[in-house]
Symmetry: C2
Subunit: 664 residues, 2 copies
């Protein structure tokens, strides 16, 4: 297909191909100017995107946050000029022509990869391949859930994804598509940019699988289409909207379409069109306008496509406002907490202060959830096939499933990465507050999504249990050692490791209240109560849990299950005439944010500082100084009952006492 003869007439209604050429030219010119980026995919998928954004996608450029809009996710985020072109052309204020000219420059909205929160209209930060698709699954899940809760009139939209060869090679794509297939998410449509070009050359250098057969095996409806034939693309999209399953359309495209020699070429993926090739491509497209200039008719046609959505949005609003559930939906979408959000939790804390229960902190977390989830209806739980172990299922919750999308518990399967990405997608969609659990050691599997969630500020709670050698018999493959350090060093993520029932409840409250994602790190094994006061002390990140009898000679810092070891050591040291205080450090990042004076008072002035944590020492110097005493792990763990491991690895009150004395 090429532009029509009518396109030669200035001012005539442009053909779809001419409209797509506008994307192609903007993309090619922005990349050329930045000397960086990728024109290959935007030029290749320009036709598909034009059909989608002019005929199918439900969006209103004047209200990027309209609740019932379709979600569009550019999973192949390196093709960012595609979405920037679309946002600019359809009239989003977030992307001006100046921004297009400043592609990939400091402060512009046209960052190298699309960034959620940075550019209105970008629904999801993408670039790390495969994750856009996996995040979109979460968006589609959230939509189905809210649809079940609020009805078709308020919530009824699609999630559209553009994914490339790279996305589909990533493992997370498997977790995403098998989960979506299992849940029959008929509101999810993936447009596969089937261009057979990756960075190393033609995709076949590394991939010869049959993607259509693969998606079909996962329970999807599939179809292949010529990705440059506007009519066939439109027919495929119409067909997709009628399926009762998620849909994958493989769009056969040529990378750097209409860029002359680089069209369909393995060198057409990223920035490498030189001046003469840009000129040739412009001639090839009959595009004779100045750089970064659009002809009026093309500009008008694109803006008109955007304006169509404004009417749809207004119609929805008019109907929605008379819907009895509209206020409730708006509340849910706002993410604001109800006034009584923590009433039951506070009562639970009061009870724990009174009864001083011994429990595993995973179980403490489960009890906090039991106090939170009845009030916080937006909370949607789940686990990666470890429901009984991670205490995320609250009694009375039903499974989110094909015949019950209103259910609030997701069986994610053994898909840690897909789970974390789906949670991000739910949070980005809005209206739900997802939390889900797996073993802490397997947070490694979900780490890329945990990072992306931290970068996006997606409000989710990762419940990570079995948090140390306390796992016991399962051995070193299942025993985290370096994980606390590895997450404490991640920007934007709140990490909590509570010590008992009270701290666990406080940490949940802090997680629910905090901006962005949180992680609760919890034990398999039972620990005694270590607190008998309220005061929401965990919110300060670290605090003096137990004072010394006189000017402290020793301060013991600790978190989680080792706080009780610190308390036992304190008793022994005090009995031996050594005034000792104990500091609990449930959240290093919240502590870091406290005023310096508070921090100094918590660190204290004791001549000997000891840290005890069943984890790597890495990072503890900030509490104990470079010459402080550390009682913890310096290797991987081993397989044996937990008590034995604590003894063998010398993480005991006796070790703390002996080392503290030696340092005095």
């Amino acid at each position: 297909m090429s532009t029509s003869v009518l396109d030669k007439i200035p001012g005539a209604k442009p053909s779809g191909v001419l409209m797509a050429d506008a994307i192609r030219v903007l993309s090619m010119e922005a990349v050329h100017r930045a000397k960086s980026g990728h024109q290959g995919m935007p030029m290749g998928m320009a036709d598909v995107a034009t059909v989608l954004w002019t005929k199918f996608l439900k969006y209103d450029p004047s209200r990027p946050d309209w609740a019932d809009r379709d979600r569009f996710v550019l999973s192949a985020g390196h093709g960012s000029m595609l979405i920037y072109s679309l946002l600019h052309l359809t009239g989003y204020k977030s992307v001006s022509m100046e921004d297009i000219k400043s592609f990939r420059q400091w402060g512009s909205t046209t960052a190298g990869h699309p960034e959620y929160g940075h550019t209105a209209g970008v629904e999801c930060t993408t670039g790390p391949l495969g994750q856009g698709l996996a995040t979109a699954v979460g968006m589609a899940m959230a939509e189905r859930h809210l649809n079940a809760r609020f009805g078709d009139d308020l919530v009824n939209h699609k999630t559209w994804v553009i994914a490339g060869d790279g996305c589909l090679m990533e493992g997370v794509s498997h977790e995403a598509i098998s989960l979506a297939g299992r849940l029959k998410l008929n509101n999810l449509i993936v447009l596969f940019d089937d261009n057979n070009v990756t960075i190393d050359g033609y995709a076949t250098v590394a991939e010869t699988g049959d993607q259509l057969a693969r998606f079909k095996a996962a329970g999807w409806a599939v179809k292949a289409v010529d990705g440059h034939d506007h009519k066939k693309i439109a027919a495929a999209m119409r067909w997709a909207l009628e399926r009762k399953k998620p849909v994958m359309i493989a769009c056969k495209t040529a990378v750097s379409r209409r860029a002359g020699d680089k069209e369909g070429d393995k060198h057409g993926h990223g920035y490498n069109l030189m001046d003469d090739e840009i000129a040739a491509a412009r001639r090839h497209m009959d595009w004779l306008h100045e750089p970064f200039t659009l002809p009026d008719n093309v500009k008008k046609a694109w803006l008109a496509a955007g304006r169509k959505g404004t009417k749809v949005r207004k119609d929805w609003e008019a109907k929605a406002k008379s819907n009895a559930k509209f206020a409730e939906l708006s509340n849910a979408m706002s993410g604001e907490l109800p006034a009584d959000a923590f009433k039951a939790l506070d009562a639970h804390i009061a009870d724990a202060i009174a009864t001083q229960p011994a429990d595993a902190t995973r179980s403490c977390s489960g009890k906090a959830l039991a106090a939170l989830t009845p009030t916080l209806e937006s909370m949607i739980g789940g686990s990666a096939d470890l429901t009984g172990s991670v205490n995320t299922l609250v009694k009375g919750m039903t499974a989110f499933d094909i015949d019950n999308y209103a259910g609030r518990y997701v069986h994610y399967g053994v898909r840690e990465f897909g789970m974390a990405a789906a949670m991000n997608g739910m949070a980005l969609h809005g209206g739900v507050l997802p939390y889900a659990g797996t073993f802490f050691v397997f947070s490694d599997y979900s780490r890329p999504a945990i990072r992306l969630g931290a970068l996006m500020g997606a409000k989710v709670v990762h419940v990570m249990t079995h948090d140390s050698i306390g796992v016991g018999e399962d051995g070193p493959t299942h025993q985290p050692v370096e994980h606390l350090a590895s997450y404490r060093s991640m920007p934007g993520l709140h990490v909590f490791r509570p010590a008992d029932m009270i701290e666990a409840a406080e940490c949940w409250k802090a997680a629910i209240t905090a901006k962005g994602p949180s992680m609760l790190v919890l034990s398999r094994q039972k620990v005694p109560a270590v607190r008998n006061t309220g005061g929401d002390l965990s919110a300060k990140g670290a605090y003096e849990l137990s004072a010394a009898s006189a000017d402290a000679k020793v301060t013991i810092f600790s978190s989680g299950t080792e706080v009780s070891i610190a308390i036992a050591a304190q008793k022994q040291l005090e009995a031996d005439g050594i005034p000792t205080r104990v500091v609990s450090t449930p959240s290093w990042d919240l502590f870091e944010a406290q005023p310096d004076a508070y921090k100094a008072s918590v660190i204290g002035a004791a001549p000997v500082r000891v840290a005890v944590e069943a984890a790597a020492k890495f990072g503890w110097e900030r509490f104990i100084g470079e010459n402080g005493v550390f009682v913890g792990m310096s290797s991987f763990g081993a397989s044996a009952p937990a008590d034995r491991l604590y003894k063998e690895f010398d993480i005991t009150a006796e070790a703390v006492v002996a080392k503290a004395k030696a340092a005095l």
Copy 2:
């Protein structure tokens, strides 16, 4: 199928089912005694394993390290009692009946999950699901490569994998099977334990995909079989051996087979057979022997199966010894370096000392590889579809591919996790030294395999480029911040961040010489030479790169691309009359291993200590103390040219100078 009537006759040759019952009973009893573990899979797959280990698998219990043995990987590692039973029954010395009785106890060889290096006969540490399968792909690749290099007479064996529902839900399984399918690894056979039970219940709670269709789409030969019918299992295995592709056999099994009520039940996965159920299962199997006691005929039949392999191994040895390439194979398998391993590299270092080249450290790494790989024929490179960017392809290397398994460069595709796991598998197989590259930020994707490699001590080199905001325009999704801290805290992994051509070569030498896995963290952007001396200083982890003109008032610690910033700051401070020294810290773990006196001398006594690194501060306190000055990142990065980002995030010589002065 059940035991035959002949099995009632004491001393008669046991049926296959009776032999499988031995596995079932040992597994069930060991788990029962440990009150921990999983009898479900070992009992379900006992029949398949019996057929495999008595009729097909090539192994010699008296030589667990025989080079041409088949590799057996229990990807579903929680079923560890299956392999411990097999090792014990076939006569491996590593697993005695006492060990079986001590399942999951401190010091026993029967750890909770199979551990490579801990128990002879265990080829791979498993437990983190999906990874056994992905590791096995690497083993099969190594085998095909060595076969191409040494011929059928020396190297010609299979890799067999048992994988469960959980393994196949994990994303890494997709990367593994699509890579194996692409490479047509006809020496790889996966036995899928198709039992439809996971921890959350029946697998269908989370998975309804068609696994046979899925593997077929990835280019595998597939077949389903009754996993309790010995004849049909054997026929399927014979069929598998004749395919020209990797093979997946879906073995329909019942979890906790022959355990009465729990057979095939969703509660039959893990430990939960109580005393009465154990008794009932024994009655059901007609197994009337004392616990942990085997009837003589069963014992003998199993030992005979093991001994068959001894003969096969001896025949191989007899033939191998007269093969001209035998010594070379033995050398390769031993992992010993040739005497002239570093001759070219040393010359390259001498040249760099003389010429002081400015270069990106990724390019420095590429040049070190060009000096190493011609001599070290075992080195097999690759990348996750970033060949041109990560500098891992040395001129003259050809692609490892279907028609050229002798090739030494692997196009892993966009499969970071699968790549890292495959590298582990190659290293475990032996005979090759794998290295491969991706962007440092995407090390998050491969992290679970990097960890498992560190735990196993698998000798691989992860080449991680684009190591900071120096990535520039690609933005925060592509800019590592917390990654250095996250890997420096991982036990068993050597992390190197070289500053220039000389350090890059030294770090490669250290990585090749070191035990276990290494990671080289390298820059996209060009940096000046900072060293003009030899002396293999990087091997000490940290060292004084540039002395102060007098008693130092300031020490600046740095690594990688920021060392040149440190040097520039030193010049300015010295010019301002402030004696300043610079310490380069290419490897924290190697530094940690130095004598205390050396460490103290490197840390020095300057009153002001500054660290500059374009990464998170986390962990730097060990060099600069808790009140030291840090110049680096405290948030995610942004999209803009690299120079601009260094300025905006204030990681400059000026910032170092100003902050050092303020602290004086």
